[in-house]
């Protein structure tokens, strides 16, 4: 098991280098100097010397590969440089926004699993019944529904027309004056719409996926064999069937790791949530390239970590993988 892990980690190194290269060149191969944004585009008043100074400060006068090397060694130490927009360390800005995004996406993921998995299981168990067919239709519609449109519609309905929920921001204006439980309630009200929209967007997909997995499993020979042993249908479905059908959920969890930290640009923009997605968007608008590069590298890195965790998860749960790794 340990050597399996080591081998996987080793194979990641070229990927990591590739990611860093990609992130670096995405920014540096674009027209226009990165200092343009910081100094004001084409502002003739900015003196040549000031520009030179800035370029020297950010190593922009050196050849590309030197810049890359310097940047790469710095990010290995988690030093992502300083933001061009406000001079603060990138890592600080990043860390500020992570908890928010984590909360929103984490809650959303929880809802998706909590409702999506049972829905899929029911659809499979009652295959062909009304629920199954309805959920197929709903899923199809949900897939086609642009999430930002759903957000607008729900904002309109719950935020404006009914006035039940706030439509933007994380907290109300007088948040500091709230008591503890009031603060929690306020946060909850603000998070309700973003989390709900985010969850709704993926719910149908997950439930349909689980339904298909479950159906596949229920056709397997060992399910027939289990029935032949007089195991109650309940046990056959929910113990034998479900355990096998839920294996791929590990993959899903692994795939959602980058989203948990990277956040969603669209939702955070719509709902004005100060999370990592919004940070990225603002940085992109202002060409704050240290932040952009930092986020590109981090999210890509997290994707790899996510898939590694999924592999580990499988090895833990599936004895075929666990023992195959050991027997080597």
């Amino acid at each position: 098991m340990f050597s399996y892990l080591l081998k996987r980690l080793f194979g990641l190194i070229p990927l990591l280098i590739g990611i860093s290269l990609m992130s670096f060149f995405v920014i540096h191969l674009s027209p226009g100097s990165p200092t343009d944004a910081a100094l004001g585009d084409l502002n003739p008043k900015v003196s040549y010397e000031a520009r030179q100074k800035m370029e020297k400060l950010y190593d922009l006068d050196k050849p590309l590969w030197v810049q890359y090397k310097k940047w790469f060694t710095r990010i290995l130490r988690f030093d992502f440089g300083t933001s061009l927009a406000d001079g603060r360390p990138v890592i600080d800005k990043f860390l500020e926004t992570i908890p928010v995004t984590l909360a929103v996406n984490g809650l959303s993921l929880l809802l998706i699993l909590l409702f999506g998995i049972p829905a899929g299981v029911i659809a499979a168990v009652k295959k062909g019944a009304l629920f199954d067919k309805m959920s197929a239709v709903v899923m199809f519609a949900a897939f086609a529904l642009p999430a930002f449109w759903l957000a607008l519609v729900l904002m309109d309905l719950f935020g404006v027309k009914l006035g039940w929920l706030p439509v933007s921001g994380l907290t109300s204006l007088d948040f500091e004056y709230f008591s503890g439980p009031q603060k929690i309630a306020d946060l909850a009200r603000h998070l309700a719409l973003p989390v709900a929209v985010s969850a709704l967007a993926s719910l149908a997909g997950i439930s349909r996926y689980i339904r298909n997995q479950m159906n596949d499993v229920l056709e397997k020979p060992y399910i027939l064999a289990a029935r032949s042993r007089n195991l109650p249908e309940r046990v056959v479905l929910y113990k034998h069937g479900l355990k096998n059908a839920l294996l791929p959920v590990i993959s899903i969890l692994g795939l959602s790791v980058p989203g948990l930290i990277g956040g969603s640009v669209i939702f955070e923009s719509i709902f004005a949530i100060p999370g990592t997605g919004r940070l990225f968007f603002l940085s992109v608008m202002s060409r704050d390239y240290p932040v952009i590069m930092a986020m590109l590298v981090t999210t890509a890195f997290l994707t790899i970590i996510g898939s590694l965790l999924a592999d580990l998860g499988y090895a833990c749960v599936d004895p075929r993988i666990r023992y195959a790794a050991e027997e080597k």
């Binding site: 029935r227 032949s228 007089n230 075929r320």
Partner: protein, 322 residues
């Protein structure tokens, strides 16, 4: 010898895209205690479907009808809506052809065994169930039992998995064991050991067995009675040795003549033609197109089953004399 099991005029219908399909017709046979019935036939003759029908394990949408279905004195009423599975519950176990795929890969042998024991014996304590599991594993030859309890199906060989499956079948404490081609996927040596195991279980536990296989010569060696199926019907049945030595139905004869052993004797003869598709509607005898002894009358109506001395049954208008 008391009669353990009897089925009369069983018909199985499967739903297909083009309408219902009759896969077994008028299946009738009986089994005594401690008796082994071998069911032989080519692929596609309906043997597995018939067996699945007897245990209520057919795919959804299937329909079964029968005139009589009785296990250990308890009759299954064809007009009542309860599934046959209730009858299975009380005493039929099934073992399958490929043991590896019929065991859940995510649970250990021990877990699956104790689960079956607990489900079939309500109110049993977990500890007792585990002891029983150990006992069963030893009975089927998986020693040391403690080891095998912890193993997973993918870690065992085909033979060991089949033993585990037999163990699982025994955990339900059956009176009748249906073995659907249990050794077809195994090598010859393992085959023999599994057959020996089943024979010993018949002796020690008083099990009756229905053994399904396409290998008639294999079953001849250990079965008490044989039934040969063709196109969903039983075309001949009777005591095993008698049938193979003095086969009377043209199909059974042709089968015997196809046996590889006959190659040496230069009496090997493959059967021309091929098995009819199950949805081919025939008016007369299903074997008529391939029958070397067929008469025009055979094409007109389905042959009746003739019963002769020593409980031989032949479904033919013109059974051959030896």
């Amino acid at each position: 010898m008391t009669r353990l099991f009897e089925v009369r005029d069983l018909n199985v219908m499967l739903p297909t895209r083009h309408g219902p399909l009759a896969v077994s017709r008028d299946i009738s046979f009986s089994l005594e205690e401690k008796q082994i019935l071998g069911v032989a036939g080519e692929s596609g003759c309906g043997k597995t479907m018939t067996m699945l029908a007897l245990t209520g394990l057919l795919p959804p949408g299937s329909r079964v009808s029968w005139k009589k279905l009785e296990l250990a004195g308890r009759s299954c009423d064809p007009s009542c809506r309860t599934d046959i599975s209730k009858m299975r519950d009380k005493g039929i176990s099934y073992i399958f052809q490929e043991p590896g795929t019929h065991l859940n890969p995510l649970f250990s042998i021990g877990e699956q065994l104790t689960e079956t024991i607990l489900c079939n014996n309500r109110g049993l304590r977990a500890k007792t169930a585990r002891q029983e599991a150990v006992r069963i594993l030893e009975n089927v030859g998986l020693r040391p039992a403690g080891d095998f309890l912890r193993r997973y199906p993918h870690q065992l060989s085909g033979g060991m998995n089949q033993r585990a499956m037999i163990g699982l079948a025994l955990a339900a404490d059956p009176k009748l064991l249906i073995a659907d081609e249990p050794t077809t996927a195994l090598d010859l040596l393992t085959q023999r050991s599994i057959i020996d195991l089943v024979l010993s279980l018949v002796r020690t536990r008083g099990l009756s067995v229905i053994w399904v296989s396409h290998d008639i010569s294999l079953m001849e060696s250990f079965a008490d009675t044989l039934a040969v199926m063709y196109a969903g019907r039983i075309v001949e049945s009777g005591p095993a040795k008698d049938m193979t030595r003095h086969a009377r139905h043209p199909y059974t004869r042709a089968l015997i003549h196809c046996l590889p052993e006959r190659l040496k004797e230069k009496r090997f003869q493959p059967i021309p033609g091929h098995v009819p598709a199950l949805n081919a509607e025939t008016r007369g005898c299903a074997f008529y197109p391939r029958c070397p002894f067929g008469m025009p009358a055979c094409a007109q109506a389905e042959p009746l089953t003739i019963e002769t001395e020593n409980s031989r049954k032949i479904k033919c208008f013109f059974p051959q004399n030896t």
